[in-house]
Amino acid sequence: MKKVILIILTFWAFVNANKIYADDYTDAVKKAIKKLDAVGDISDRAALLKARGDFERILQLKKNEWMLNYYMAYCDLMIAWSYMGEKPDNENIKKYNESCIDLLNKATDIKDDFAEAYILKMSANSNRWQYEPDKMNDIITKGAEDNAMAKKLEPENPRYYLVDAMITYYTPESFGGGVEKARPLFEKSWDLFQTYQLKDETYPNWGKDQAAGMVALCYVKRDKLDEAKKWIDKGLETAPESGFLKGYIMKQYEEAQKK
């Protein structure tokens, strides 16, 4: 009898511990994603660092969760961007961007058909122009590899078109980039977002507001302010709290209006 009690007790403790553990985990991830979503815009670096910390703490418990590596990488990418601005801080851009690339590589090592990670890699890779333009060959080669991989895995992923469009937008026209080439890609991304189905609730779900906002920005750059306003409204309809739309795009729009 005593033995049985012991076994039951141990068993109970074990099951119980695991259960709490599992719930904690999903909960924690959901909470962390919520916190990340709530970050108004990328200039709020403190909030980004807090969100990053949440993912990092969960990650040290579950080192082989590709999704966690992805989310932490996403935070790193945002933090790297936060250092760009008027006076880019290359040391910090490099620090967070390289960390982002490392984490994404880990994610695709664990799950090599994880399209979202390749999409993010495209973006992180293009940031390298900022701090190591002398590695031009490597940047171009890796960029092309990630692009091909992402497109092959999920040709209809709206974020693939969004990132591809972003890179195009910031590439000088003389290199085959520019506003005119980027806009149709942003529009395609927006269209795909309309029918996009989330695989599960922890899956990446960012970018819809950015797609609409960037189409608007393309119109702002071409002085078609009415068109721009339409797209800002479209975006706000689906994401009324979007810091990207309210903070960044609206500002650009209002400045253009003043002129």
């Binding site: 005593k2 910390g53 990092e56 620090k95 060959n137 080669t141 003389s174």
Partner: protein
Amino acid sequence: MKKIYLILIAISFSSNFYSQGVKIYGKVTGEDNKPLNGANVVIEGTIDGSTTDSTGYYEFETSKTGQQSLLFTYIEYNERRKSLLIEQGKNIELNVQLRKAEVETEEIIVTASSYTSGQQSQVTITPLEIVRIPGSDGDLYRAITTFPGSNQVDEGSRITVRGGDANEVLTILDQASLYHPFIFDNDFNTSSYTTINPWGLKGINFSSGGFSAKYGNALSAVLDLKSYEMPQGTGAFLWLGLANVGLSGVFLSNDKKLGATVDIGQTILDPYFRLNGYLLDRYNPIPLARGVGGTLSYKPNEKSNIKAIFDYSEDRIGIRNTSPSYDGYFNSRANTIFYNLKYSAGIGSKTYLSAGLSLSHHKDEISYGILNNDVKELYSKFRLDMTNQLSKKVDLNFGGEYEYDEDKFIGKVPSLSYNLRLDAPFIDINSNNHTGRIGGYVEAQIKPFKTFFTIAGIRTDYHTLSKNSAVDPRLSLGWKFAKDHILRGTVGIYHQFPRLEFYAQASNFALKPEQATHYILGYEFNKSEGLFLFRVEGYYKDYKDLVIRDPNSFLYSTVGKGAAKGVDVFIKSRVTNKYSTWISYAYTDSKRRQYEAKTEVSANYDITHNLTFVGSYNVTDNITTGLTYRISTGKPYTPVNGSIYDSTYNVYEPIYSKTNSGRFPTYQRMDINFQYFFSLFGRFAIAVFQINNLLNQKNLYDYTYNFDYSERKEIITTNKRQFYLGLGVQF
């Protein structure tokens, strides 16, 4: 037993249910007590924790009690664990300092005198920089002469290092020795160019002394080039230049297992000469060079690779020269064929093998007056290298090579060096010599601590013609004694067997290998992986068994000796994102008794002071510009004091002063270039405009004399101010 249940229950209850929050707080700082923003704190095995704010402060509440371990992490810093006892109701303050993580010590920081390029993080120069260096004409060797310790021969691609001769520099491509990777090599008043394409290179390692026991039969320096095993993609590049045209293509199969490249090019110098005001009647024929080459790569599996290289080049030139005894064209025709087959494979996870078989033919015909030579050389080499990781701290490298050299010389050589007339007396030579060299080495790379590195190696070589052998022990040390500060030192013995033509003129082929003992000590300050790099290095080289020609018997022996000492300084800085620069300075004092010298005199390339400045500026994203400026002490030469009339042949014989006792005037040259990247019909395109020798400074190639040596005339190098335009399109 009951006690055990109780304890068990107590533990699970205390840790999971009934405890109340305990606040843990504190500050996380870096080495200099600066707060770290964004550092992470977590109770290990839980997700309880926090992230520091901009003052380094963190706080969080936890329900966990008992003995716990707190983990602190921060990007680029070493993680740190602190154990602490959490008791209910007692808040805890815990301040922690983190240390920056040491960057892994890489091989390149170890060897002294080495300048490396490649994918490593601590690169000294990148292939893009090579192409962009003004005045380098996209030529790898010319780019290397912007580093301290190395000099150009006749402003061409041949390099001399620390006062030595050009043939003391060994070029290796994927294990094969390259003896003639040049066009217009050794021609009268003509700059040579290399046939090596820098874009195909994965790694460039130039060592101006103190190199590893892997490299044999080189006295002064090694340029070790590694090509990409597989092409990087599929595409083609067309180059249309004012002086040359070229087309290259690369192909990589979809499964990335098969790759091929092809390169074809030719010079068209007529328009270039006309634009730059060259007198066309100085040339007959106008210089022409062309080449074709290619590679084929196959990757049977992830761990192995087979690669074949083929390269052919030819050139011809006739250039007018008025010497005291003859006035006419110096004519030369040369061609070189090179084949290399390389196999590399990983065996298990700790051993790497590579084997290479190479074959090269070189043919050179020159004529000037009575001088008429036809030289055919053949080189073949088999080489095997293995690397084995014995433990985390010790790597073992070993390997061997067999090299076969053959030299056929047919032609007329003037009996009296000062009489080159067509009717002058001559010696008819028809010689054919060959030799083999067998070499082997073993070396250990030992890294007892993260900041200390040593390479100890030994090699031996045996020369089958002279039956002489050499044993070369070598030792390198590298010590990163503080963050960003590195100290390096090398001691080693280096041997090189004289060229076959010397053996042909020695009694019983009894020439010893020439020997140099290198002593090198250097210091490097390297901030943020090349953001700012400062290097200073001192060396002393002791030479013995140098080749000497006996003035009476004209036979060669190896009884010469000498010494070289000097200091190299190198500063490289990425000043801003748009502007980067490097400056190199070398002081050299190299004295030798070699070849014709009767006593120890300045070596042929004993350039006392040599200063080079290279700057590159990105005007916009699309336009870059650069400037190179070089100033150096003039090269030594042997002046002529007077002459004696030789009535037999009605010619004057010069009377020479002491060998290398004169010096050319100071050498100076400034080069600039502009590069514009743009899109042409939707393709990536680059346009280059460059001006070499912008200030049109007159540098000396040599002196010549009138018929009786009573008047000295300057021969100015052909590198006067020159404009060049080129357009490249990728498709």
